[in-house]
């Protein structure tokens, strides 16, 4: 570890997730551990009906529940981020303004693409009703920074704020930013995570035409099958994940319990192709090794990897290869891909999966990869499958890899504060 690193520890004290498995991180984690899939066929009333056979659709959300009266045209990605943020803040027990100075609180909320559904609606309005149908509210409604901005407005957060736009790594990237801000003393509390609302026909067709999506599955819950021989793509999903991350000594001082500590991070870039990963998985190797080095841990210290595991042919092979390169072929960590049940939340995925890892540490349970019946020849690892696995591991990794070749690995460890909900 470099001598300048590790000034302050960072502890996850609050979680909020809003996914196809419902609202609430503990509820989602219980569903994942019991092998319950949230993936469904879009109903007739859904925008995607007839376009996709399967998607991860989150619950309905009334804007009035998360926004002040009179706000208009706010895209669903931001609404879901606000819901997850409200749950995470409530879960942390933190009152911004009394427990912590608002200028020492940061918010980093990512989205791969922001409010494209709202943009599409306005494009249609312009076509159908003419130029004046385009509202200036489209801007605060769809811009990818507005989830962060609206959370800041809601809680009076006056410190650092930003939004990362690194596609499917964006949620994990936000957690990296949080850990860095805490470690370097730039914030005492960071509300971080990501949200995505890609379930509109244009976005869905772009992924479909990229041949990236699972197809041909009569049972929607069978469609997402990371590392399985029969896999044929990922399942597009919407949702949000938000974590409250606090400086460990600040959390301790207020008596807060933690799910997990953020011990390190690794970020690397493939510099290869816009969409395909390096076949040798070298970018993923680099991000995992960087995360271990950042946290001062050895490969043997890691008991679980939450894989990026989208169930694309090339992506799963490259990741499995990378995991074997870092951890060896014998006695490596347990691995599972929870996108098998949540679908792929794109810019929300990394944050939801960081929450999964925090809960795996605090509960001692590792969720399985759903639908992993026949492990593909190139994908051999110590897969958790069939049922959740008990684990006393002290440290875990969460991988997120993105279009653009952005690789992020998060390193989380058992909380150094008193532990939260060790069930």
């Amino acid at each position: 570890m470099s001598p300048t690193a590790a000034r302050h520890g960072a502890t996850v004290t609050g979680l909020g997730t809003f996914t196809s498995l419902g609202r609430g991180a503990a509820e989602m984690f219980d569903a994942l551990c019991s092998g319950k899939s949230g993936l469904t066929t879009p109903p007739a009333a859904h925008l995607l009906s007839g376009t996709l056979d399967v998607a991860g659709i989150a619950p309905d959300l009334d804007p009035a529940e998360v926004l002040p009266p009179g706000e208009r045209m706010v895209d669903r990605y931001a609404l879901m981020a606000l819901a997850a943020a409200a749950d995470a803040v409530a879960d942390s027990g933190l009152t911004i303004g009394s427990d912590v100075d608002p200028t020492r609180v940061a918010v980093v909320l990512s989205s791969g693409a922001g409010g494209l559904t709202t943009y599409e609606e306005q494009a249609h309005a312009r076509r159908d009703r003419g130029p004046t149908a385009v509202s200036p509210y489209l801007l605060p409604g769809m811009l990818p920074n507005m989830a962060a901005a609206r959370v800041a407005i809601k809680y009076g957060i006056r410190g650092w704020s930003s939004a990362m736009a690194t596609a499917c790594s964006a949620g994990a990237h936000a957690v990296v930013e949080a850990a860095r801000l805490i470690r370097h003393g730039e914030a005492d509390v960071v509300i971080c995570g990501g949200a995505e609302a890609p379930l509109n026909p244009t976005s869905a067709l772009a992924f479909k035409h990229a041949r990236a999506l699972a197809h041909g599955w009569e049972d929607p819950t069978a469609a997402s099958r990371p590392f399985d021989t029969g896999r044929n793509g990922f399942v597009l999903a919407e949702g949000a994940g938000v974590l409250v991350v606090e400086r460990t000594d600040v959390a301790d001082a207020r008596g807060a319990a933690g799910y997990a500590d953020l011990l390190g991070w690794g970020v690397s870039t493939d510099a290869y192709k816009p969409t395909a990963p390096r076949p040798d998985g070298e970018g993923a190797v680099q991000s995992m090794r960087s995360a271990l080095a950042c946290g001062g841990l050895a490969p043997d210290d890691i008991g679980y990897v939450n894989a990026h595991g989208t169930a694309t042919k090339l992506g799963d092979i490259a990741e499995a290869r990378a995991v074997r390169t870092v951890f060896g072929t014998d006695g490596g960590p347990a691995v599972s891909g929870t996108k098998s049940m949540t679908g792929h939340l794109l810019g929300g995925a990394g944050a939801v999966e960081a929450a999964v890892c925090a809960l795996a540490l605090s509960t001692g349970r590792l969720p399985p990869t759903h639908n992993l019946q026949d492990v593909a020849p190139d994908c051999e690892l110590d897969h958790v499958r069939g049922a959740a696995r008990p684990s006393g591991t002290e440290a875990v990794l969460s991988n997120s890899f993105a279009f653009g070749g952005h690789n992020v690995s998060l390193l989380l460890g058992r909380a150094h504060t008193r532990s939260k909900r060790g069930r």
Partner: protein, 91 residues
Amino acid sequence: MQKDEVTKFILDALSTMNYDVSEVSPDSPLGPSGLDLESLSVAEIAIQIEDTYGVRFEEDEMESLALLTISGLVDEVVKRASAAATAAHSG
């Protein structure tokens, strides 16, 4: 052009924009002491008026528009529309 017609147009547009116009009177200010329109709402109503009545509001007028009452805005629209019509005739 009838003032009543312009008033109705503006109230309908505000209603479409989710503003509660049930208690709005001609003397209601557009700004903080009345409807409390945000700058984007002022811009949105302006573009709809421009499109319907062929008048033009310049960018630097947006702040002063927000200080008008409903009837003040209606008067402004009627004045500009008739000026535009006169200019067209004399042109």
